[in-house]
C-alpha cells in the first residue's frame, strides 16, 4: 500500500507516476508461464524463487519456456550456495567441504541442510533443498552440465574467500582491486558465464559471446560492483567490507573514517573511484546485449543493467550512500523497465542519458576527474560506433584535394567566367550591329526619327502622368506623322 509520503512524492512527480501506470497497464510478458502442468516440486521451487524476491525474479518468470526452468533452478542452486556461505553461524569446518562439494550435492536425491542459523532469510530453501535437486535432475543434460560446472567453480571460489576471511587475512576485507574483481568474478562473473552458455545452448544468443569472455564477465561485474557501491552502509553495519583497501586507503587511513561526516570530501572521492571502476565495464555490457537474439532473454539481461547504470548515477557524488541505502525511485524503475524491454537502441539511450548525468556531476577537483570523463566518453563513443548519429558527409561541393586540382578548378572557373562574358558580348554585338543596319536602311529610306522620338517621349509622359496639360497638346503638333505615313 502506498503511504502518504509516496502519494505526496508522485503528486509532484507526475512523469514518474505516468511511467508506473504505463508499465502496470501495458507491459505484457513476452512469454506467459503456464503453471497448471507443473509438478509439485517445481511449484515449490517457484515459490522459493518468489520468496527470495530479488529484482531478478520478475524477469526470470517471463523468460522463454526453453530456458525458464533451467535459469530458475540455476538461480536457486546458487542462492542455496550463497545462503550457506553467508551464514556466519556455521563453523568453517562444516562450511568449507559443503561449498567445495556443492556441485555433487545437487545430484544427491533428498539432500537437505538444516544447520543454518534461525535468522538466515533463505533458511527454508536449504531445509527443503531436495525439491531443487529433484527439478535439477529433470533438466536437459546439457543444462545440468553447465550449472554443475559453474557451481563447482563458484563453490571453490567462495570456500577460498571464506577461508581467508576466517583466518583473519586483513580483518575480513578485500585488499587489492584484483582481489575485489576476483570476488565479483566468483559471485557474479560466473553467473554471467553460466547464463550465456545456457542462452547459446538454446540458440537464444550469438555463439560469439562465448569467445568474448570479457563481455559476460563485465555483465556480472557491473551488476555486482554497483551493488557493492550502493550497499556500503548496509554491509558496514553487517561488518562486511567489499570496497578494496587499495582504493579506500588512498583517501582515508581507516575504513571506518569513510563514514565520518568530517571526511565527506574524501569519502566522495573514494566512492568516485569505485564508481569509475564499475563504469569502465558499461560499454562491454552494451556490446554483450548486441549479441542477444531473443526478446525475453534481452529483457532479462537488459533490465538489471539499466537499473545498475541508474543506480550508479544515484550514488555518484552522493554522500548519502554512507548514511543510508540509496535507491532509484519506483517511477524511474518503471521507466527504465519500459525502455529496457524493447530494443538495444533504447537501452543505449538509457546508458547515454545516465552517463551524461554522471558526467555533469563530475567534480573537477576529484583525483579521478579526467578518468571519469574518459569513461563517460568511452560509453558515448561506443554507442556511436553501433548506432552512428551521423553518416560520413557526402563531398557534394567536390572540395579540391590538391593544390593542382584547386588551381585547375580556379582556372576552370575563370575560363567559365570569360566564356560567359564573350558569349554575352557576342549576342549584344550582333543585336547592335543588326539594329544599326536596320536603322541606316530606314534612314536612307526617309525615316523621320525626330518625329518618332518626340512621339515616344509624349507617350511615355502620358504613361507616367508627369507631363503637364501644356504638353498634352503636343500630339496635335505631331501632325507631320501623317506625312510620314504618306511614304
Amino acid at each position: 500500500m502506498p503511504g502518504v509520503k509516496d502519494l505526496a512524492y508522485y503528486a509532484v512527480h507526475p512523469k514518474e507516476l505516468r511511467s508506473i501506470i504505463q508499465w502496470k497497464v501495458w507491459h505484457n510478458p513476452v512469454h506467459e508461464r503456464d503453471d497448471s502442468k507443473e509438478s509439485e516440486s517445481l511449484k515449490r521451487c517457484m515459490y522459493f524463487l518468489s520468496q527470495t524476491s530479488r529484482s531478478f525474479v520478475a524477469v526470470i518468470l517471463e523468460l522463454h519456456p526453453d530456458i525458464l526452468v533451467s535459469v530458475a533452478i540455476f538461480y536457486l542452486v546458487l542462492r542455496g550456495l550463497d545462503t550457506i556461505e553467508d551464514d556466519m553461524t556455521i563453523p568453517l569446518a562444516t562450511k568449507e567441504p559443503i561449498l567445495r562439494d556443492f556441485h555433487n550435492i545437487i545430484e544427491q536425491d533428498g539432500w537437505t541442510f538444516t544447520e543454518n542459523g534461525p535468522d538466515e532469510k533463505d533458511r527454508q530453501l536449504c531445509v527443503e533443498f531436495n525439491v531443487v535437486i529433484e527439478e535439477f535432475k529433470k533438466l536437459k543434460p546439457a543444462h545440468q552440465a553447465i550449472i554443475k560446472d559453474i557451481t563447482k567453480r563458484m563453490g571453490n571460489g567462495m570456500a577460498d574467500y571464506v577461508k581467508n576471511a576466517e583466518l583473519g587475512v586483513e580483518n575480513n576485507g578485500v585488499n587489492s582491486v584484483k582481489d575485489y574483481e576476483k570476488y565479483c568474478h566468483y559471485v557474479a562473473g560466473l553467473v554471467g558465464e553460466g547464463c550465456t552458455r545456457l542462452f547459446v545452448e538454446e540458440g537464444k544468443a550469438n555463439p560469439a559471446l562465448l569467445k568474448r569472455t570479457e563481455l559476460h564477465e563485465s555483465m556480472g561485474q557491473f551488476l555486482q560492483q554497483v551493488n557493492i557501491i550502493r550497499d556500503i552502509k548496509e554491509d558496514f553495519d553487517d561488518k562486511r567490507r567489499f570496497w578494496p583497501k587499495e582504493i579506500w586507503s588512498k583517501h582515508v587511513d581507516n575504513f571506518e573514517d569513510l563514514f565520518k561526516p568530517e571526511n565527506k570530501d574524501k569519502a566522495l572521492a573514494c566512492s568516485s573511484e569505485m564508481i569509475l571502476t564499475a563504469l569502465r565495464r558499461a560499454d562491454d555490457c552494451l556490446f554483450y546485449l548486441a549479441g542477444i537474439k531473443e526478446q525475453s532473454v534481452f529483457n532479462f539481461c537488459a533490465i538489471p543493467q539499466s537499473m545498475a547504470i541508474a543506480t550508479l548515477d544515484a550514488c555518484f557524488q552522493n554522500h548519502d550512500i554512507f548514511k543510508r541505502n540509496v535507491k532509484i525511485t519506483k517511477g524511474d524503475a518503471c521507466q527504465l523497465m519500459l525502455e529496457s524491454t524493447q530494443n538495444l537502441q533504447l537501452v543505449c539511450d538509457v546508458f547515454k542519458r545516465y552517463t551524461r548525468k554522471i558526467h555533469q556531476k563530475n567534480n573537477p577537483h576529484d583525483p579521478n576527474f579526467l578518468q571519469i570523463s574518459i569513461a563517460c566518453g568511452k560509453v558515448e563513443q561506443f554507442i556511436e560506433s553501433i548506432f552512428p548519429s551521423q553518416k560520413p558527409p557526402v563531398d557534394e561541393k567536390k572540395n579540391p584535394a590538391s593544390a593542382e586540382e584547386a588551381a585547375r578548378l580556379k582556372k576552370e572557373a575563370d575560363d567559365n567566367k570569360w566564356e560567359t562574358f564573350y558569349m554575352i558580348s557576342a549576342v549584344i554585338g550582333t543585336i547592335v550591329f543588326i539594329s544599326g543596319i536596320m536603322l541606316v536602311v530606314a534612314w536612307f529610306a526617309g525615316a523621320r526619327f525626330d518625329i518618332a522620338l518626340g512621339q515616344a517621349k509624349e507617350q511615355l509622359g502620358q504613361l507616367f502622368g508627369t507631363v503637364g496639360s501644356d504638353n498634352a497638346s503636343a500630339p496635335l503638333d505631331g501632325k507631320p506623322s501623317t506625312d510620314h505615313s504618306e511614304l
Binding site: 551524461r356 558526467h359 555533469q360 556531476k361 563530475n362 567534480n363 573537477p364 577537483h365 576527474f369 579526467l370 578518468q371 570523463s373 574518459i374 563517460c376 566518453g377 568511452k378 558515448e380 563513443q381 556511436e384 560506433s385 552512428p388 548519429s389 551521423q390 560520413p392 558527409p393 557526402v394 563531398d395 561541393k397 572540395n399 579540391p400 584535394a401 590538391s402 593544390a403 584547386a406 578548378l409
Partner: protein
C-alpha cells in the same frame, strides 16, 4: 629495457622539423625506443630543442630550397623521412603555400631521387573539419574540407600537402608514403593549446562555461603522436622489405592516412578544467556560470566587431564559441588495427606533465630575466 623488449632499428631516419614542438618529441622517442637508429634533424634553425644523444645529428636548412635538399639527402642517404615541419597557424597564406605545399613537394622529389624507402607526413585531423558539421566518431573515410569550404587556409594547405604525399606513394615502386593526422596536440613545449588555456585561468575566465559541455573532444598528448609516427615508419619499412608483394587492402599502411589521438575523447570543458585544476584552480563546479551557446555566439559576434574597430581581439570570439561547443572526436580503429597503435601516455598524465612543464618553464624564463 631495450633488451627486454627488443624493437627493430629504423635504420637512418631524417626528421624534418625535428627542433619543433612535435619534431623534438619524435626525436627523443626514437632515441628512447630505438637506440640503434640513427637520426638526422633538418630544421630552419637547429639551436633550440636539441637532443643530447650522439645518435642525433643536426642540419640547418630550408625545405623551400630544392637543390639544397637534393644535396643533403644524397649525403645523408636516409632510409626514412618524417616530415613534421609546418609554419605557425597564424602566419599569412603565402607562407603556408610556400612551406606546406611547395616545401612538401620539394621533400618528396628529393626523397624520390635519393632512394628513400619510407616517407611519413604529419598532416592534421582538421583536414576533415569544416564550419558546418560536427565530427562525431569520424573516420578516415570522411571527405576533406578544403578551398572555399575551409575557413582556415593553413588547413587547406595541410590537406593539399597530404594529397601530394599520398599520391607519391609507390612512385617509384620502392617509395612508400603515409600520413598521420593528429588531433589537438598538447604537452611539454606546446605553444598552441595549453598556453591559451593557462592564460584563460589567469584572466579569471574559469568561472564561465559556454554551452552544455556535452560535446566530446579529442586531445592528444604529444608523445602519443610521436609514437604514431614511429609505428608508421616501422610499418612502411616492413612493407618495403616484402616488396614487390603488396599488403592486403585491409592491412595496408602505404598510401593511407591515419587519425592519431589519445583514443580518450573527453567533454571539452572537462579538459579545460583539468588544465585549470593543475594550474591551481579550485573553483567548485556549482560556482561556474553556464552561458547559452547561441547567446555566447551573439556576444562573440558583437565583441568581434567592436574590437575590430579598436584593432584588437576580444576575450570571446565566434571561433572560440564554436570550438568549445562542437563535438570533434575521431575513431582511431584504423591506426589500432593497421599500425598497432595505442596511446603510451594517458590523458590525465599528459595534462599533468604538460602543465607542470609550462609553469616551470615560465618560472625559469622569469628568473633569467631577473638576473
Amino acid at each position: 629495457m631495450a633488451a627486454k623488449n627488443p624493437v627493430p632499428s629504423l635504420g637512418h631516419v631524417t626528421v624534418v622539423g625535428g627542433c619543433g614542438f612535435l619534431g623534438s618529441h619524435i626525436v627523443s622517442l626514437i632515441v628512447k625506443r630505438h637506440p640503434s637508429t640513427r637520426v638526422s634533424v633538418l630544421d630552419l634553425r637547429t639551436s633550440s630543442n636539441r637532443n643530447a644523444s650522439s645518435q642525433v645529428s643536426y642540419h640547418d636548412g630550408d625545405i623551400t630550397d630544392l637543390a639544397f635538399l637534393k644535396k643533403l639527402f644524397a649525403d645523408l642517404k636516409p632510409d626514412a623521412i618524417i616530415h613534421t615541419a609546418s609554419p605557425h597557424f597564424h602566419l599569412p597564406p603565402a607562407v603556408h603555400d610556400k612551406v606546406n605545399i611547395e616545401g612538401t613537394k620539394n621533400l618528396l622529389s628529393a626523397a624520390q631521387e635519393t632512394g628513400v624507402k619510407a616517407f611519413v607526413y604529419t598532416s592534421s585531423a582538421s583536414v576533415i573539419f569544416g564550419p558546418e558539421t560536427e565530427l562525431v566518431n569520424a573516420t578516415e573515410e570522411w571527405p576533406m574540407i578544403t578551398g572555399d569550404a575551409q575557413p582556415e587556409y593553413y588547413t587547406t594547405t595541410k590537406a593539399y600537402a597530404e594529397t601530394a604525399v599520398l599520391e607519391a606513394n609507390r612512385t617509384p615502386a620502392s617509395f612508400l608514403t603515409c600520413a598521420i593526422r593528429p588531433a589537438g596536440i598538447f604537452g611539454e613545449g606546446d605553444v598552441q593549446l595549453l598556453p591559451p588555456m593557462i592564460g584563460a585561468f589567469r584572466k579569471g575566465q574559469t568561472k564561465f562555461q559556454v554551452g552544455a559541455n556535452d560535446n566530446l573532444f579529442d586531445f592528444t598528448y604529444v608523445e602519443n603522436v610521436a609514437f604514431g609516427h614511429l609505428l608508421a615508419v616501422q610499418a612502411l619499412l616492413h612493407s618495403h622489405k616484402i616488396l614487390p608483394t603488396i599488403p592486403l587492402d585491409t592491412e595496408r599502411v602505404d598510401g593511407e592516412a591515419f587519425f592519431i589521438t589519445n583514443g580518450q575523447p573527453v567533454y571539452f570543458w572537462d579538459f579545460a578544467r583539468a588544465v585549470w585544476h593543475e594550474c591551481g584552480d579550485r573553483r567548485p563546479l556549482n560556482k561556474v556560470w553556464k552561458l547559452d551557446k547561441d547567446f555566447a555566439f551573439a556576444v562573440g559576434a558583437l565583441l568581434e566587431n567592436v574590437f575590430w574597430v579598436l584593432g584588437r581581439t576580444p576575450n570571446i570570439t565566434r571561433k572560440q564559441v564554436r570550438y568549445s561547443t562542437f563535438a570533434k572526436y575521431h575513431s582511431i580503429d584504423k591506426a589500432k588495427r593497421r599500425l598497432g597503435y595505442h596511446p603510451l601516455v594517458q590523458l590525465d598524465e599528459g595534462v599533468r606533465r604538460g602543465v607542470r612543464w609550462l609553469l616551470e618553464n615560465e618560472l625559469k624564463t622569469a628568473q633569467k630575466k631577473d638576473q
